[in-house]
Amino acid sequence: MTDHHHDHDHSELSETELRVRALESILTEKGYIDPAALDVLIETYETKVGPRNGARVVARAWTDPAFRARLLADATPAIGELGYAGRQGEHIVAVENTPELQNMVVCTLCSCYPWPVLGLPPVWYKSAPYRAKAVKDPRGVLQDFGFELPPTTKIRVWDSTAEIRYFVLPMRPEGTEGWSEEKLSELVTRDSMIGTGLPKQPGEVA
């Protein structure tokens, strides 16, 4: 669709994204749309944007130790095994949560956000104060989401670059022994893959 140059030091918007932003800013200036209301509407489609291959990737890693090892060694070809490849999925790095370490990803601000893997970025990530707080006080951000980590758990924040997009491999919830990959993938939320939430618990899915 576009041959937008691919420098790595500045932000990137596709031709189509430029047109959508142009419309949005004109209509906002003229009072035809309210950006906050638009965000609320769009957020209701969180799980309806993109194929969310990330949930499948996580569920496979939970059930297949060899795949998990390949994923952590080099995520891009491992994700490719599931049939997913694409410009925005290039150079993906998977970071694994453990009882001692919680990973959290920031930077969802431009085209580099890997939505084919993760789904729609959270609206709050676009807000500068939240973003700043995520870098300075990640534990506080997690608390804002009602997500209390033991004080002994370290938090590591990954700031995506134009070359590298991170996603979090969350810990498999307890009580899911013997679950199929498909059923497990239903537990994997967008927030658990950017590290601002936990996967759903077994009781939360039918």
Partner: protein, 128 residues
């Protein structure tokens, strides 16, 4: 929020061809959801009725097909976006020239914004 959601469901029923699953519209990319939400908002403002929108969108799709669009469903929201651009111009909300000016300004804003920072439009982006 539920009012918005209802408005969106209404749109999905009134406009043929919207890619959807059992719950409602699905999108291949975030910008598609934005384009959808803009149309829902403009409809709520009374800028057009859904039958009017559906007719304009159908014209856009017919035109694109005549120009060789394979109409595989992947381009649905490109037609949707073109329809938005056409209708806002026809209704006198803005003009094609202004749309282009803002598009170019956003391009400059993206170019000068270091990666990972919010891309914001400033007055200086309009002169380049």
């Amino acid at each position: 929020m539920s009012a918005d959601r209802n408005a969106a469901q209404q749109a999905a029923h009134a406009v043929p061809g919207i890619p959807r699953d059992g719950d409602g519209p699905v999108f291949r990319a975030p910008w598609e959801a934005h384009a959808f939400a803009i149309a829902v908002s403009l409809h709520a403002r009374g800028l057009f009725t859904w039958p009017e929108w559906a007719s304009a969108l159908a014209q856009e799709i017919t035109r694109a097909q005549a120009e060789g669009d394979a109409d595989t469903g992947e381009t649905y929201y490109l037609h949707w976006l073109a329809t938005l651009e056409r209708l806002v111009a026809e209704k006198g909300v803005t003009s094609a020239t202004t749309l282009t000016r803002y598009r170019d300004a956003w391009d400059r804003a993206a170019d000068r914004t270091p990666h990972g920072r919010p891309i914001e439009l400033t007055q200086s982006d309009f002169s380049g």
